[in-house]
């Protein structure tokens, strides 16, 4: 077996040195009745050719976004990833390292985490950001738990327009405490947090100023959540919020059938010690050189056990690296240009769709995603019919609504293919 260095002669010699005769002598701690005396019921080992062939066959049964005019968003966005990103994240020293618990030989990981935290703080307008969470939805759930810890209140109020999967994840996380989740357009007097998504699930951006005031009046913490991090290149930073969380997948990570993605988590400085997850900090070494190290670990499970701020351990370090590399390539101007380009593509798409009889764009404002009203009730049926034509048209909602996205990857040909096919299906 190609991944196992020992020959049978090695194994025999090593057993002899240890002073036993059979490998199962080393499993003597397992009661003999518990040891399997035959192989499990799975195929035997295979070579690279066979494995690659089998998995390629499975991959080929899917319709890839690379092979179709593509307009789906709804919390997961298709963007171009520069070739440099994948090259860097596949470097052995990043790909096959562990969590940087030994900082003298993990400065590479720690330095990029410091840059990652800095980028996320700059983007969100917050003071501090952590080293990542699993995804946007779990980031939001952890933000709600954090607000509960800070305010010692239970109720979580969410503004209409939160991504339904985020709401469902929040509900699951809060189920153990029995906290109420209320949908309302302002916090109530017992709200621990008021959660507002912008751009919201239907694509509309929101200003935080009015919500800030309502939160100040009631004592609720204001949580801003986004599913499209690129929007922060064009929209004002949510600096009025207490906690900003969201999905960073758009920058460097890719679709990947829903994961791994990249949970971003940032907040105001005064809440730092209530944050979940890992934090990387700057310090010095024995020679006085600037160095980086995981810090404030007394919040975390491996030190505090049941008193930790969260049970999270492994996060998504390599996705944070992909984000950091892509963001570094973009830089200040590139990030703004890319965001503007996305908005322009979406404006063009909206205009083209409105040319179709009885198709209406519902949003008056949007970033790169918006909702259209189709002239029929069953949007899912339309999406399925377009899929049969090789077009991945958007995410169907109730009552003939379709959530649709354009990014820098959208071409004029894609738009023509969509509008032509949509006319046929609606005819």
């Amino acid at each position: 077996m190609r991944y196992l260095p020992h020959t049978n002669a090695d194994r025999k010699a090593m057993l002899e040195e240890i002073g036993v005769t059979h490998i199962d002598d080393l499993f003597a701690g397992v009661p003999s009745g518990h040891l399997l005396n035959k192989l499990v019921d799975l195929p035997n080992h295979q070579g690279e050719i066979e494995v690659e062939r089998a998995l390629s066959a499975l991959a080929s049964k899917n319709l890839s976004a690379a092979d179709a005019p593509f307009f789906i968003g709804a919390g997961c966005y298709r963007h171009h990833i520069p070739a440099t990103v994948d090259y860097i994240i596949q470097r052995s020293e990043f790909l096959t390292a562990y969590t940087p618990y030994q900082p003298e030989i993990a400065q590479g990981t720690l330095a990029y985490l410091f840059e990652f935290q800095s980028y996320v703080a700059e983007l969100t307008g917050m003071d501090v950001a952590n080293a990542s969470m699993y995804d946007g939805a779990t980031s939001l759930a952890e933000a709600a738990l954090m607000a509960q810890r800070i305010t010692k209140r239970q109720t979580i109020t969410i503004a209409p327009g939160l991504h339904p999967h985020y709401e469902q994840t929040l509900k699951t996380y809060l189920s153990t405490s029995g906290a109420d989740i209320i949908v309302a357009d302002k916090p109530s007097s017992d709200s621990a947090a008021f959660i507002i998504q912008s751009p919201d699930f239907f694509g509309t951006p929101h200003s935080l100023q009015d919500y800030r005031k309502a939160c100040d009046d009631t004592g609720a913490k204001l949580i801003h959540v986004f599913t499209e991090v690129l929007s922060l290149g064009l929209l004002p930073p949510p600096k009025e919020a207490d906690i900003v969380v969201g999905e960073g997948q758009s920058i460097g990570v890719g679709l990947g059938f829903g994961g791994p993605h990249l949970g971003l988590f940032a907040c105001k400085k005064e809440y730092t010690r209530q944050m979940p997850g890992r934090l990387c900090g700057q310090t010095t070494d024995a020679d006085g050189k600037i160095s980086y190290v995981l810090t404030l670990s007394t919040r975390e499970q491996h030190i505090r056990r049941e008193k930790a701020t969260s049970n999270i351990c492994t996060n998504v370090g390599l996705c944070a690296l992909a984000f950091t590399v892509h963001m570094s390539l973009l830089g200040e101007q590139g990030m703004k240009n890319l965001a503007l380009l996305n908005h322009q593509k979406a404006c063009d798409l909206a205009d083209k769709l409105e040319e179709i009889n009885d198709v209406k764009v519902i949003n008056t404002s949007f970033f790169n995603e918006f909702t259209v009203q189709l002239p029929i009730d069953d949007a899912e049926d339309v999406v399925n019919k377009l899929a049969e034509k090789g077009i991945l048209a958007g995410y169907p909602l109730h009552d003939g609504k379709l959530l649709i996205t354009a990014t820098e990857t959208t071409t004029e040909n894609d738009v023509t293919a969509l509008t032509t096919a949509l006319r046929e299906v609606l005819a």
């Binding site: 494995v51 990043f94 994840t169 951006p205 200040e332």
Partner: protein
């Protein structure tokens, strides 16, 4: 002396590298984007004018991250014997297949007719894992081991709720990973620690007394098997029966499954819930701290509580079930870390039934080989053979001023990643060594030789040198106290 100091701090192949913020020059960029002609925004918001990102070109970005990478130790570069972390070889084939467009370029909300291959992949991996652990139902949704624990404990909580039972206590073995008590606490439970005995196993007398004392107040017991002392909990069946006799559930943390894959089916020994860590046993890369993937296996009784979405299969068609009456609900935005699932499946197919059994056997062989050769040089708290990891301590060295930390830093100086240190907490100065099955005998011999050298140094007159180590690394010992006292968590101009 001063003329020997490198002007930029570079030393041969060891190159200093400032943050990109410090290299920024206005007007540089690492991307070329088409001109945008948009003049009137339809965002309904003012346009953002400043973000605060650095501006650098592509060659600078590449050089920056390549230099940073060269400051890292990795399993591709050397032995990484972190106990209970299972740092094994990460095959490149897995990286290749996961990047096929048909996997990488899929959206989780595509019409189900266009993702049949992806759903089949998930279904197949579920079946492989179910066969390996001997349990009937699997969810692949959890993002990491701790997320799997949360999923498992929420399922238990829901099952008890459905029975109308309010149970407030979770027992946790004292050598468990910190995630176990943190998870149970997140689920609202009070934690009672179950001590381990002088053999490193659950103290059965104490366990029985706790179960007798708290009985129907106990929701579950969480332990790890093989445990973090490198031992198989031989009384697992008794523990299961005892828990079930008071209506409590049995959670087994599968972090150390690498020791028993293909050798023991935990589901046949009374376990109700266990999680796998695909980034441990099934070799998906740790990536400097994730992404992981923490599938959860449950008993028939608990299956209906598993999170959504779930993959269903009938008449040759795969579908995603997105809601049902009993589920604990959704635990993340989409259906898990699919990229990790593809890698793990490639790894499992490569090994097959015969290879996976050999994985466990060679992992256990390697740990015992190290234990055998180091048992006279370091204190061994629990005598006899071990499973896939061996536990040593600094007893006998500490008294003369050399601690586990010094041994770890000495290993760094001599070219190895240290073992897990100061965990498990049940012994003082723990050194938990897990070589894994992918280290050759020569590599193990090199590690043993180095550890013997360190033990000798620790007892010699030159032992103070160890306190200075590491010397030849990109950074020397780092001031962690300063980092925590005056936290600097981001770049500031």
């Amino acid at each position: 002396m001063s003329d020997k100091i490198s002007p930029l701090g570079h030393k041969g192949l060891m190159l200093e590298e400032p943050l990109l913020f410090e290299q920024s020059q206005q007007g540089r960029s690492g991307v070329d984007l088409p001109e945008t002609t948009q003049t009137k925004l339809r965002t309904g918001q003012p346009q953002r004018t400043e973000i605060g990102l650095p501006e650098v070109s592509e060659p600078q970005v590449v050089r920056h991250f390549v230099r940073l990478s060269q400051m890292n130790y990795s399993i591709d570069g050397g032995m990484f014997p972190l106990g209970s972390c299972t740092m094994k070889h990460n095959p490149r084939l897995n990286e290749k297949v996961v990047r096929l467009d048909g996997f990488a370029q899929l959206h989780p909300l595509q019409p189900q007719s266009t993702i049949q291959g992806a759903l089949e992949t998930i279904h197949q991996l579920e079946n492989w894992l179910a066969e390996l652990c001997g349990m009937p139902a699997i969810t692949l949704n959890p993002a990491a081991g701790a997320h799997g624990e949360l999923t498992g404990m929420m399922s238990i909580r829901k099952a008890l709720q459905d029975k109308g039972e309010i149970r407030k206590i979770v027992l946790v073995s004292d050598n468990a990973h910190g995630t176990n008590p943190a998870t149970a606490s997140t689920c609202g439970y009070k934690i009672i620690s179950v001590p381990s005995g002088s053999d490193g196993l659950v103290d059965l007398t104490a366990f029985n007394e706790l179960v007798d004392k708290y009985g129907s107040e106990i929701a579950a017991f969480m332990f790890t098997n093989p445990n973090t002392c490198g031992r198989f909990e031989k009384d697992i069946k008794h523990i299961a029966d005892k828990l079930h006799s008071v209506g409590a559930y049995f959670y087994c943390d599968g972090a150390n499954f690498n020791a028993i894959v293909g050798k023991v089916k935990l589901g046949e020994l009374g376990v109700d819930v266990m999680q796998f860590n695909l980034h441990k046993t099934f070799s998906t890369p740790h990536g400097g701290g994730g992404p992981g993937c923490g599938p959860v296996a449950v008993s028939k009784e608990l299956e209906k509580y598993l999170p959504v979405p779930r993959v269903r299969h009938s008449n040759g068609v795969y579908s995603l079930e997105i809601e049902n009456a009993d589920t604990i609900g959704r635990i993340k935005a989409f259906h898990g870390h699919f990229g990790m699932m593809v890698r793990a499946l490639a790894y499992m197919m490569s090994h097959g039934a015969d290879g996976l059994r050999k994985v466990a056997e060679d992992a256990v062989l390697n740990a015992n080989y190290i234990l055998h050769h180091l048992k006279d040089d370091f204190h061994v708290p629990y005598k006899g053979i071990c499973m896939h990891e061996c536990l040593l301590t600094d007893k006998g060295l500490k008294e003369d001023g050399i601690t586990t930390l010094d041994i770890a830093k000495g290993l760094i100086e001599y070219g190895f990643h240290p073992m897990t240190v100061y965990f498990p907490l049940v012994v003082s100065g723990a050194m938990l060594i897990e070589p894994t099955e992918t280290e050759s005998r020569e590599s193990l011999d090199g590690f043993i030789k180095t550890m013997k050298h360190l033990a000798k140094q620790a007892k010699s007159k030159q032992k103070e040198h160890l306190k200075e180590m590491p010397l030849s690394t990109p950074r020397r010992r780092i001031d962690e106290v300063k980092a925590a006292r005056q936290p600097i968590l981001r770049y500031m101009k």
